[in-house]
């Protein structure tokens, strides 16, 4: 009888939710349309910007160097830079980003070079500006190569091998599998953040609509005059909130997996040597395990959302209670994205943060079974406690008939 009642309530709430434009937008449009558009669009825009900065031929002004013709002509031959005549206000032009860099060659550069005097070539740039950094890189490379050739010539003149200056090389060698290191680490944290955020976001509107919204519309009194017990009523509502939260989270993981594979397909070639290759990829196993870990978290969210919003008299009031909750939940999820925050026994007991940290590991395919057990169990405990609170809240006349 009780399961039947909960089922009746759930079915009715589902019917209503699927006819509610706001629920549909949060549940389907955000994860399936908006999200890929934003992430893929944003990624594509960044890639295009970087590509454009690389393709562009930066204009470079040179101060001095009239007495060093071979350096100057070498500079002129550097591919994809254009040496333009020096103007008096060159500093302002760099500051105003009209020109990316200005090279200052000291007076008598080549003569001093021949005399083996110490000297410095200055590159005036705009630190942090993408175009300026790209142009500076090209100029630096030219001068470094030039310096190396000078060194080589000097060593050759003294009959010394190159190893005199460079007796050995130091080189990092990554032994971690590429799918578990580098950018993938950040990527895992990002997925966890998205799942936590959309899980909460998906349950927010229905939770407020089914409690505070019903009080506002006057249907709460109608349903309370029927023989259904309040426990069954709140459990039916809870199941609906849980459904929307999980659907939103699941759809967002799926749509992210799809949109990243599209990005990867579009982006096969331009990884140049020396750049870290971040392949964005979510495997089926990773997606499934993230989803399983998100289950008790979704129960926790749905219960907390219901508890808080059933206290409110109107949808608007509920919104003003829920907004701070959003920050409280999002902060640990963001903290989990930060590099260096790693799972330990204490963090494994902090709700939201623990699941976010774990999901970060799960996405890159690392399974710490002891942590998985602790986190799943602790989140279940929190979830059951929150659900119990939601049910208790619904039994209270002072909460249901606040006016």
């Amino acid at each position: 009888m009780s399961a039947r009642n909960i089922g009746i309530v759930y079915k009715k709430e589902l019917t209503e939710a699927l006819r509610d434009r706001r629920t549909l937008i949060v549940m389907f449009i955000v994860p399936l349309v908006l999200f890929p558009l934003v992430s893929v669009g944003f990624g594509a825009a960044i890639a295009a910007l970087i590509g454009k900065a690389r393709e562009e031929t930066p204009k470079v002004m040179v101060i001095g160097g009239q007495d060093s013709p071979s350096v100057l002509s070498g500079l002129n031959k550097v591919p994809k830079i254009q040496v333009v005549p020096l103007e008096a206000n060159w500093k302002d032009q760099v500051v105003n980003k009209q020109i990316p860099v200005v090279v200052e060659i000291p007076e008598g550069f080549e003569r001093s070079l021949a005399e083996q005097k110490e000297q410095t070539v200055l590159i005036h740039d705009y630190d942090g500006d993408l175009k300026s950094d790209t142009a500076r890189g090209k100029i630096e490379k030219y001068f470094n190569d030039y310096r190396d050739s000078v060194v080589k010539d000097r060593l050759a003149a003294r009959n010394l091998p190159v190893t005199v200056l460079k007796p050995f090389e130091v080189k990092p060698h990554n032994v971690a599998p590429p799918e578990k290191s580098g950018g993938a680490l950040f990527f895992g944290g990002f997925i966890a953040y998205i799942v936590v955020f959309l899980c909460l976001n998906g349950g927010m509107h229905p939770a407020m609509d089914l409690t505070a919204g019903e009080k506002e519309r006057g249907t709460m009194e109608t349903i309370l005059s029927s023989p259904i017990s309040r426990t069954h009523l709140v459990l039916g509502k809870f199941l609906l909130v849980l459904t929307t939260a999980l659907t939103t989270a699941a759809l967002s993981v799926v749509s992210m997996a799809i949109s990243f594979s599209i990005v990867n397909a579009l982006h096969t070639k331009p990884v140049q040597a020396g750049e870290s290759d971040v392949t964005l990829h979510i495997g089926f196993g990773a997606a499934l395990s993230v989803f399983i870990m998100a289950l008790p978290l979704a129960v926790l969210f749905a219960s907390v959302l219901l508890t808080i919003s059933s206290f409110a008299k109107s949808y608007k009031e509920a919104q003003s209670y829920i907004t701070p909750l959003l920050f409280i939940v999002i902060l640990p999820a963001i903290a989990a994205m930060l590099p260096g925050v790693e799972l330990n026994l204490k963090l494994a007991l902090i709700p939201v943060l623990n699941v976010s940290l774990l999901c970060k590991e799960l996405v890159i395919g690392t399974y710490h079974w002891n942590y998985i057990a602790i986190i799943f169990a602790s989140t279940c405990v929190y979830a059951v406690a929150a659900l119990f609170l939601a049910v208790k809240m619904f039994q209270r006349e002072s909460v249901l008939f606040r006016s």
Binding site: M1, K12, T15, R19, E221, T222, L224, S225, S226, P227
Partner: protein, 213 residues
């Protein structure tokens, strides 16, 4: 006839929306504190505060409450067909409640209240804001319920409805029951024929205009 200030408290308590005081005894053999759900199943409750779910159709809404009252699908279908025919509701069966007119909404509310055929019905101003024809359909339906042996508690400010429908009349002002009896008894006691005059005679000495509170 009950004035609104007290009305809601009385109604909520009588239908156990809120928890009743221990002094509220029993209804249809069920203790109101021990088995509130069973008591609610025996009562059909309609007030101006009981709204309809905007995104359900009239039929879905009545079905929902029928199922919550434990009706099986066959009985439910029969009950719904009966009530919808009787209240002339077939024209808007599948229309969403937020698209219904006031009269249609009120009819749907009544169908919702009575779908499980409760022995006790409580109607709080069921004809308020309705056109004459709809109001007539509703009062006629309530009279039928009475004639079928149901207990109907009915509150209204429309004296003609009271004269037509009520076996026992209670006049409540500021939370106090000032008079009770059949129409004939009240007429005799206050030596007036017109119910409105009787009402004024009873209430006037106790009447405090709302602004004075």
């Amino acid at each position: 006839m009950i004035r609104s200030a007290v009305k809601f408290a009385l109604w909520t308590t009588s239908v156990l929306l809120a928890y009743p005081a221990r002094s509220m005894a029993c209804s249809c053999g069920h203790d109101v504190i021990e088995q509130p759900e069973k008591v609610r199943a025996n009562v059909g409750f309609l007030s101006t505060a009981t709204a309809l779910y905007p995104r359900l159709t009239a039929q879905e809404l009545v079905e929902y409450f029928g199922r919550l009252n434990g009706l099986d699908e066959a009985t439910l279908k029969k009950r719904i067909d009966d009530i919808f025919n009787r209240l002339d509701m077939n024209g808007f069966r599948d229309r969403r409640c937020d698209k219904l007119s006031t009269g249609m909404k009120q009819k749907t509310s009544i169908a919702r209240t009575l779908v499980h055929d409760p022995p006790v019905m409580i109607f709080d101003e069921p004809t308020i804001g309705l056109d004459v024809m709809t109001a007539r359909t509703i009062t006629a339906f309530i009279r039928e319920c009475r004639d079928r042996g149901k207990t109907v508690i009915f509150s209204t400010h429309v004296m003609s409805e009271v004269e037509k429908l009520c076996d026992t009349i209670g006049i409540i002002q500021s939370g106090k029951l000032l008079a009770e009896g059949t129409l004939a008894q009240l007429r005799q006691k206050y030596s007036e024929n017109d119910l409105e005059e009787i009402f004024v005679k009873i209430v006037a000495p106790h009447y405090v205009p709302a602004e004075a509170h």
